[in-house]
């Protein structure tokens, strides 16, 4: 195999699929108008749940490939968290920030609970992870998901409904949209994708799991990725490639540029800042504008003057 392809398969693609899926899920979630500050927690829960899921076929002799089972369990548990967050924030007019951050810390705990005992019992998880070349198929699958979701958001009625509840839930409700149902769909779908990304993070990229994974803050980097790409499923592709590449090429950059390790770690975050600055000072700001009602408590019977 040619060396460049090796580099791509080993270094770029695993990071790309992770960031792409997490930021894609986050984008769908936020398009429905709910501010997602739980992203890093849900991402971490995804990793723990994937670890637990991946060993289930071995323990119970289920005829499913362990990493696939890991992905299924991770998406399911993340979707349940999405159901909770979307419904609570649509039902009650309370702060999205407070609920999101609380859910983040709760999810860190859930992630630890799910993964810790598996980690103690099984030292290495190479055996239940995806094979090295599988990342090619996973990349293709996630790209297909991204393109389909883009068409689904931009072309179909349910996509219009998701954008409508993100822009103005009051008008949407008056038009006949079930705000609760639509936000739950977007919430579960969005979080499921974040869980999927979390699962690939350990089963394809790291192939190891540790209690302290959440201190990396990769969920927050995906948050920045989504913001820098204006929550656009197609624009997310190059931006995720860039960020995934930067994160995973830190050591290379470090030696090539001769900079300290701590500075090299800053590079992806600096790139996120730079992209956001660029797009907020140009016309892209209008095209990639956040949903108008993002983060605003929704109170159905609001009286306004």
């Amino acid at each position: 195999m040619i060396p460049q392809l090796d580099y791509i398969i080993d270094k770029i693609l695993p990071a790309f699929v992770t960031f792409y899926l997490v930021s894609l899920g986050h984008s769908i979630f936020e398009k429905s108008g709910i501010l997602n500050l739980a992203i890093d927690g849900v991402f971490f829960t995804g990793t723990g749940a994937a670890l637990l899921g991946a060993i289930l076929p071995i323990i119970y002799n289920i005829p499913i490939s362990p990493p696939v089972m890991g992905v299924l369990v991770a998406t399911l548990i993340a979707a349940i968290l999405g159901l909770f967050m979307s419904s609570v924030l649509t039902f009650l007019p309370i702060s999205h920030g407070a609920v999101g951050l609380s859910l983040q810390f709760f999810s860190y705990g859930v992630g630890i609970m799910l993964g810790y005992y598996v980690r103690l019992a099984y030292g290495t998880i190479y055996g239940v992870s995806f094979a090295r070349e599988d990342v090619l198929y996973l990349s293709i699958i996630s790209l297909v998901i991204g393109v389909v979701l883009h068409l689904f958001i931009e072309r179909t009625k349910i996509g219009a409904a998701i954008r409508a509840v993100g822009e103005n839930p009051h008008s949407a409700a008056a038009l006949g949209v079930r705000v609760m149902a639509i936000r739950i769909v977007a919430g579960m779908l969005g979080f499921a994708l974040i869980g999927f990304g979390g699962a690939l993070f350990i089963l394809s990229w790291q192939r190891s799991w540790d209690v302290k994974l959440f201190t990396l803050g990769y969920g927050w980097l995906a948050f920045a990725t989504a913001l820098a790409a204006g929550r656009h499923p197609i624009v997310l592709i190059p931006v995720s490639l860039l960020f995934g590449g930067l994160v995973n090429s830190q050591t290379d950059l470090q030696s090539r540029l001769g900079i300290p390790a701590d500075v090299a770690k800053l590079i992806p975050f600096l790139a996120a800042l730079a992209l956001m600055l660029i797009y907020s000072t140009t016309r892209l700001r209008r095209i990639f504008a956040s949903p108008s009602s993002l983060g605003k408590p929704y109170y159905k019977e609001e009286k306004s003057i």
Partner: protein, 501 residues
């Protein structure tokens, strides 16, 4: 007489903070009838129809559709039962296209369906009633009239049994309105029911078969076509206060002397929320003691213009000069410190901090430069404003969010009029106030302009208000300012035409 198609019985609705919006209201709506619900701002008309359309839930009372008691849980529920509402402010999502908005209401369109069929439906109906709108245009790029016509098209597509028009026709140009009356008559003849909400008595008399009058949340009269006349309805609508309400001018234009130019706006270009040109090359000047009114339908750039003048919105081109100082793009702090009072659109959101009390809201403006707030003097000032403007309940420690809409507006207006020493910039200064209080506020504005030599620039969606108060008036339509006009000699029809054409 036939049995009613839709009835409401003993509907009561109280909003958080104890504001009683509706008190035991019962009404019948018969098939083939045009029913008008009349009442001034805050009488509870909109609240009542929002209950019928599933936006609010009543505290008490029932809704009876075709003889059967029903519960309307959401607007989707109402649409399925054949009840459709068109509001005064178009309830459309701005960043979606016309057909996307329409599709959200059509239950026959599947969730995963694309816009192909909706586009065809929309074209059929819009051709039939003669509307020219690009079905794939984003809603924010349309005019008010176009948006309202889309709402009406939507109501037709939904094949409603009961059509509720909440001030939906009030601001439509005469030509479009007539076109629509023809359609409504057809609709009536098919045995369906139309409910029109308005605060304009002539509009009600124009078309009503039956009139209900609401005052302060109570049903105070039910009249049929034969027995209704303006004076009778006026007495019912305003009660005792009818005598103090006037749309007569306080003085003739320019009867009192005016001074030097205070507000000087030169060739202003301002962008709207979507990057479109909202204010297009606007120039005007306001002198001390002069009142300039801007008439226009909501969403024609008035809000953006006023925000740019006080420094809340970036000016792309042109200059804002206040009292001979260029304050263009120098921020709201400077304008405020030059003695400019400002009453913004959506006062609950932008003019007060709803979680703080009246004293704190007063102090936020008057003690802005002090490191330590003198609460005693702020309390005295608040008490003075409460007494002068009759803010109810008269408690300075009352949290603003617990006041009724009208009292919040009074708090804002009194504070800004008290603060303004050079100029007042206001958007809909009497929005949400009852007519008697509106007259009072307009009188205050006039007094203050004359006595303190205040330069007043205000925009209002209420043309009567502009005609009553201004020394000269302008019309704003799609970002362009027309005028000045003399409020007494200019024919009303000419102004109305400029507002919408």
């Amino acid at each position: 007489m036939s049995s009613p198609l839709l009835s409401v019985a003993n509907i009561t609705k109280t909003f958080p903070g104890g504001v009683v919006a509706l008190d035991e209201v019962s009404m019948d709506f018969h098939p083939g009838e045009f029913t008008v619900i009349l009442g001034e701002n805050g009488a509870g008309k909109s609240t009542l129809v929002k209950i019928m359309y599933g936006i609010y839930t009543p505290d008490k009372g029932s809704i009876i559709l075709k003889g059967r008691e029903v519960e309307i849980k959401s607007s989707l529920d109402a649409i399925k039962k054949g009840i459709v509402m068109v509001s005064q402010i178009p309830q459309l999502v701005d960043r979606l296209t016309v057909v996307e908005n329409i599709s959200l209401s059509l239950t026959r369109i599947g969730m995963f369906e694309t816009m192909t069929r909706v586009r065809r439906f929309f074209k059929e109906v819009s051709e039939k009633i003669g509307i020219k709108v690009n079905p794939d245009a984003k809603v924010w790029s349309l005019t008010y009239t176009q948006k309202q016509l889309i709402e009406i098209t939507r109501a037709i597509l939904l094949d409603a049994m009961v059509l509720i028009l909440d001030e939906a026709l009030t601001y439509l140009p005469m030509e479009e309105r007539r076109k629509f009356y023809v359609y409504l008559n057809e609709f009536k003849e098919k045995g369906r029911s139309v409910i029109l909400i308005t605060h304009k008595i002539p509009e009600a008399l124009e078309i009503a078969d039956k009139i209900y009058v609401l005052r302060r949340g109570k049903l105070v009269g039910a009249l049929d076509k034969a027995s209704a006349n303006i004076d009778k309805i006026r007495d019912l609508m305003f009660g005792e206060a009818a005598k103090t309400i006037t749309y007569e001018r306080f003085t003739k234009p320019y009867e009192t002397p005016i001074g030097d130019i205070v507000l000087n706006i030169r060739n202003l270009v301002v962008e709207g929320d979507y990057g479109e040109i909202a204010v297009n090359n606007v120039s005007l000047s306001v002198r001390a003691g002069e009142i300039i009114g801007i008439a226009g339908v909501v969403g024609n750039g008035q809000r953006e213009l006023l925000e740019a003048i006080v420094g809340l919105r970036r000016v792309r081109e042109g200059r804002v000069i206040i009292d001979n100082h260029d304050v263009t793009n120098k921020g709201v702090k400077l304008t405020r410190e030059s003695g400019v009072g400002f009453i913004p659109d959506q006062p609950l959101r932008y003019a007060v901090s709803a979680d703080n009390n009246i004293v704190e809201n007063v102090a936020a403006l008057f003690s802005r430069k002090n490191f330590v707030v003198n609460w005693k003097s702020m309390r005295e000032l608040s008490e003075k404003l409460i007494n002068e403007y009759g803010i109810y309940p008269p408690r300075p420690e009352m949290h603003v969010k617990l006041l009724s809409g009208g009292n919040i507006m009074k708090t804002v207006v009194s504070r800004e009029l008290e603060y303004a020493s050079k100029a007042l910039v206001a958007y809909n200064p009497t929005r949400g106030l009852d007519e008697a209080t509106s007259t009072f506020v307009r009188r205050k504005m006039k007094e203050k302009a004359v006595n303190s030599k205040l330069a007043v620039l205000f925009a209002s969606e209420d043309l009567d208000e502009v005609l009553q108060l201004s020394d000269s008036l302008y019309v704003m339509n799609r970002g362009v300012l027309y005028g000045p006009f003399d409020p007494v000699s200019t024919p009303r029809s000419k102004i109305e035409e400029l507002m919408v054409v």
